[in-house]
């Protein structure tokens, strides 16, 4: 191997470029969301946009540091990093203060750190490390169980922190396992369950019985050989499904908190409550919808500037894009995110190292999940689950977490090319 000339050798500038554009756009929109006449300077460090600029600079610095780290480091230290992070999650449980019902923050001097943001990174490394081990086959039960365990530990700990949104992100890793050979039936099954779940919430168990029963009957009638065995298995499936329906009903009514029930009902259109639980989504849709085709113009958004949209710098930052930049703005942002995720997938596929490929899929899946839930939530397609929009939402921990995720992948990709020389 020849002496490396520069740490930037072999870097994929497309991903770096997309990263910089997204971070910059996020910063501009945070500025617009909190803009007021008193603090006009975008560099004002007492304001969120000032702080975000600091976070951005720091994140880029961390990105550079990652570039300096040896490419082998990540695969080698994947499991220790995972272990340490899990420890941190446990520590959080005992030390964190309550912030809006969640116990997920650690105070470090003047800053607060949210370990769950880094748990995604650690889990990605651990999963990539495990699945890339030679002779590990996805179709073996043991592999499935171990892989699931790697996910369930952080997910469980985060759930204990009462941070449901961040916990759900770990579901995104299913996509990674699918790529590595997990049967597509698992994904379809998950999807079917989700659909059944929604239907179970929408309709009474009796209606569900009629619907499912009819489907079962149609399936039975269209089979060429109508045997007793077939009838019995359809009946058994029916009973399992109805059991699921009843448990959804039970969980919804007995386990979920009233505000969670209302949120789900509002999303499903069963409840119309524009002033209550539906307020956020309603105002968010109004903000985005009122942007029109070209938007109201930079700093001209009334919905966001006058505080009609809650959490507008964090979870609902996309509203500012929609309101001030219109469909053109949202089109650009969606395209940029899609481009970034597709680029990650594309580059992941060109890796020779299974570790890097799997890690790349982890990064892409996490971004995709955040992208889907966050934007879907602002336009009323997804329930209100408080997770940030990568690179856009205000917050040091999430920005740092996403930056580390991405730059580690860029580094790993660059390292591949360096190996070739």
């Amino acid at each position: 191997m020849r002496e490396q000339r520069s740490i930037f050798d072999g870097i994929d500038w497309v991903m770096v470029g997309l990263f910089l554009i997204l971070v910059f756009m996020g910063w501009i929109n945070i500025y617009a969301a909190v803009f007021n006449e008193e603090h006009q300077s975008i560099l004002d460090s007492t304001q969120r946009y000032g702080k975000q600029l600091f976070f951005i600079v720091f994140a880029i610095f961390v990105g550079l540091v990652i570039m300096l780290i040896d490419g082998k480091f990540f695969s080698t230290f994947a499991l220790p990093i995972y272990g340490l992070t899990m420890l941190l999650l446990v520590v959080v449980l005992f030390t964190a203060r309550d912030v809006a019902g969640a116990r997920s923050w650690i105070d470090i001097g003047a800053f607060k750190l949210q370990p769950s943001e880094f748990a995604k990174y650690a889990t990605s490394l651990a999963l990539a490390s495990y699945l890339s081990t030679i002779n590990i086959r996805m179709d073996e039960l043991k592999t499935k169980l171990v892989a699931t365990l790697i996910l369930v530990i952080p997910a469980g700990l985060i759930l204990l922190q009462n941070d449901t949104g961040s916990m759900l992100v770990f579901g995104a890793f299913a996509l990674v396992m699918y790529r590595e050979g997990l049967s597509g039936n698992f994904l379809l099954f998950g999807l079917a369950m989700a659909v059944l779940f929604i239907f179970a919430l929408l309709f009474t168990p009796l209606t569900m019985l009629i619907i499912l029963g009819s489907i079962g009957l149609v399936v039975f009638l269209f089979q060429r050989r109508k045997t007793w065995k077939l009838g019995l298995s359809i009946g058994a499936v029916l009973m399992v499904l109805m059991g699921f329906v009843y448990s959804v009903d039970y969980i919804f009514n007995e386990v979920l908190e009233p505000h969670q029930q209302v949120r789900i009902n509002v999303l499903l259109g069963k409840e119309d409550d524009p002033k209550g639980a539906g307020y956020n989504v309603n105002q968010s849709k109004i903000a985005i919808g009122s942007g029109g085709f070209t938007g109201k113009g930079f700093l001209k958004g009334t919905q966001t500037k006058y505080d009609f949209v809650p959490e507008q710098t964090t979870d609902f930052i996309f509203c500012t894009v929609g309101e001030e930049w219109g469909f053109l703005g949202t089109f650009v942002v969606i395209t940029l995110f899609a481009a970034l995720i597709l680029r990650i997938l594309f580059i992941a596929e060109r890796q020779r190292s299974a570790f890097t490929r799997i890690y790349g899929y982890c990064v892409a899946s996490i971004f995709l999940f955040h992208f889907m839930i966050n934007i879907g939530m602002t336009i009323g397609l997804m329930p209100v689950i408080g997770i940030p929009l990568p690179f856009f939402s205000y917050g040091g921990s999430s920005l740092l977490g996403f930056t580390i995720l991405l730059f580690t992948f860029i580094k790993l990709d660059g390292y591949r090319l360096q190996q070739l020389r």
């Binding site: 009122s290 919905q303 006058y306 892409a364």
Partner: protein, 611 residues
């Protein structure tokens, strides 16, 4: 160490999912942002508050520039129920001094009207309450204060003709979109007929508010704001002093006075008794006072000067018959008739009082001889040989004085009075089955005739002008721009000017020795008048007097109508004479004539001191 990965094709599934999600989002965003326009509206509703700027309502001055109506600032507490969440009700109730129940009731009422639109929560709060509220208003989201103006009347006169303003009724709201709930609108009098001029033009200020309803500045640099345009000033023809004096003379009586300037048709005074202080119908006390006035058996809200149309003109109508008689050629100034204490025709007898006989035209007016006009009237009706033809001609002349029709003055309500038609008698007696004797009571202004005081005053003005009049009206100029409309167009009677002289001479003689108005004469003003007594089947006759002065250059013509005042000379003549004196000399120097009128009480006869 590298190996070809299995399941590479699954990359396309994952990429497909990414694209599917992205395209779903784009589709949804395109719908929400570009196709569905309702969100724009919602955003505007969120953030835009339309603040109405109410213009000052126009002021009203009298003919000498005295202020009759002006405005005083008042404050309405408004509410937008949708925005009124989590406020300190106890504190607000304390400031407004209302009970919790009141609060809930008002809130429910506002909500019932609209969640989004501002409604009046508390009307016309006091300046002190306003001061306290203004400081703390930011704590009561959804509430704001709307400045308004209230009418004020420096002189407590002319309530009937000025009218009053009140909140626009549902009917008004439905028929005219200019008005919004809680807006004020002229309801009667000049306030109603000149509503468009007086109200001005409301302005709108579009301001942006944040989620806490705090103003954040004007919307698009005021591009959509409109400036309120103040209402126009009305210059009324009324003479406030004369009006006040008329109301004073009519105290404790019911009836009306209408005084006109013959050369213009301008109304100098328009008194309807009993009257009331126009300030009673302003502000928070309005509805209570209105109910009180409405319940009053003397009907103070009823404008007798314009609406009392059932009463016959009595002997004042003889002037008209005298004029028509000359015009149709059955009478001249030298025609004399004997009066055997009444008019006799066969077995018919219409009584008269004691006076010398025979009388010529002038004297017939001076003495108000019934027999004379029995003859004149029958000759008019019968002069073609066919009573119905004669009657039609007679009627045409009568109507040319403005009797039996509306003038459409600039006051909202006015009655036409009654001058019967051929059809009326045909219906009553059969087609042409009636003759002059059948309807002879109209010879002396009784019977089917009905006239309002306004019509009698105008009839007097037409006589004073020797054959023409201008339709009576109240407003002479709007914002210093003199009116030029149908009120400034001369209306001619069908009587030749030359026939007026003997009649006017007779009217002057009314004030001379032996005349029916002798007691009400004035030493230096040459007045022309005529007494009248309207027969009243329900009680004491009504006292009527019409009058103009000076004889050769008439400055004022008026009609006085005193209900249950008996003969015309008793109450109406002195009142008319005093009014003329007041107007022409600015003082009243006849205490002997004035005092008994002021003391007279026709409403409560037990307190009456007959003059």
């Amino acid at each position: 160490m590298s190996f070809q990965s299995k399941h590479t094709d699954r990359m396309y599934v994952v990429m497909g999912i990414v694209l599917l999600i992205s395209l779903t989002f784009l589709g949804r965003l395109f719908y929400v942002q570009v196709i569905d326009k309702s969100y724009q509206l919602s955003a505007d509703n969120n953030v835009l508050r339309y603040e109405t700027e109410f213009p000052a309502r126009g002021r009203i001055y009298d003919r000498d520039g005295r202020l009759l109506v002006y405005n005083e600032a008042a404050y309405d507490l408004m509410i937008i129920p949708r925005q009124a969440t989590s406020i300190d009700t106890t504190e607000l109730c304390r400031i407004l001094n209302i009970s919790k129940e009141d609060f809930i009731r008002k809130m429910d009422k506002a909500k019932a009207y609209s969640w989004r639109k501002p409604t009046i929560f508390e009307k016309q709060i006091s300046t002190i309450t306003y001061a306290e509220l203004q400081e703390k208003l930011y704590r009561f989201s959804g509430f704001f204060v709307q400045k308004r103006t209230l009418r004020k009347y420096p002189e407590p006169v002319a309530a009937h003709l000025l009218g009053y303003v009140g909140e626009a009724s549902q009917t008004k709201l439905d028929e005219d979109p200019y008005y919004k709930r809680g807006d004020y609108v002229g309801i009667s009098g000049l306030e109603k007929s000149y509503e468009t001029e007086l109200r001005g033009q409301k302005g709108v200020k579009v301001i942006m508010v944040d989620v806490f309803n705090r103003p954040k500045g004007s919307y698009k640099e005021g591009k959509y704001d409109t400036v309120a345009v103040a209402g126009k000033t009305l210059h009324a023809s009324i003479d406030a002093e004369l009006q006040a004096y008329g109301e004073l003379l009519m105290q404790n009586k019911t009836g009306g006075i209408v005084a006109l300037e013959p050369s213009t048709g301008e109304i100098l005074a328009l008194v309807s008794a009993p009257s009331f202080d126009p300030n009673l119908l302003v502000g928070r006390v309005r509805s209570d006072n209105y109910r009180m006035l409405q319940a009053d058996t003397l009907k103070p809200l009823f404008n007798r000067a314009l609406m009392s149309e059932q009463n016959p003109p009595g002997s004042t109508f003889k002037l008209i018959n005298a004029l028509i008689g000359q015009q149709v050629g059955v009478l001249n100034e030298n025609t004399t008739y004997r009066c055997p204490r009444g008019y006799v025709s066969g077995s018919f007898r219409m009584g008269c009082h004691d006076h010398r006989s025979p009388l010529n035209l002038r004297e017939s007016i001076q003495h108000s001889c019934n027999a004379y006009y029995g003859n004149v009237f029958r000759n008019i009706i019968d002069h073609t040989g066919k009573p119905w033809e004669g009657f039609a001609i007679w009627r045409k002349h009568v109507v040319s004085f403005g009797l039996g029709t509306k003038f459409n003055t600039d006051l909202p309500i006015e009655y036409a009075g009654i001058v019967p038609t051929n059809e009326f008698y045909d219906k009553h007696y059969g087609k042409n089955h009636w003759k002059s004797l059948t309807i002879i009571s109209m010879a002396i202004g009784q019977g089917e005739l009905g006239t309002t005081p306004l019509q009698l005053a105008n009839m007097t003005a037409a006589i004073a002008n020797r054959g023409y009049y201008y339709p009576p009206h109240l407003v002479t100029a709007i914002d210093d721009e003199p009116i030029k409309n149908r009120f400034t167009e001369k209306q001619f009677t069908t009587i030749d000017p030359k026939y007026f002289e003997p009649v006017i001479d007779g009217m002057a003689m009314v004030f001379e020795q032996g005349g029916t108005g002798y007691r009400s004469r004035h030493d230096s003003i040459v007045m022309c008048g005529k007494t009248g007594t309207a027969q009243n089947p329900h009680g004491e006759d009504h006292s009527i007097f019409i009058c103009f002065a000076p004889k050769d250059d008439p400055k004022i013509a008026l009609a006085v109508f005193v209900e249950n005042g008996g003969g015309g000379s008793k109450y109406a003549a002195p009142i008319a004479s005093l009014m003329v004196e007041k107007y022409l000399t600015d003082t009243v120097a006849r205490p002997n004539l004035e005092k008994p009128i002021l003391e007279a009480n026709l409403i409560d006869p037990s307190k009456n001191v007959a003059p």
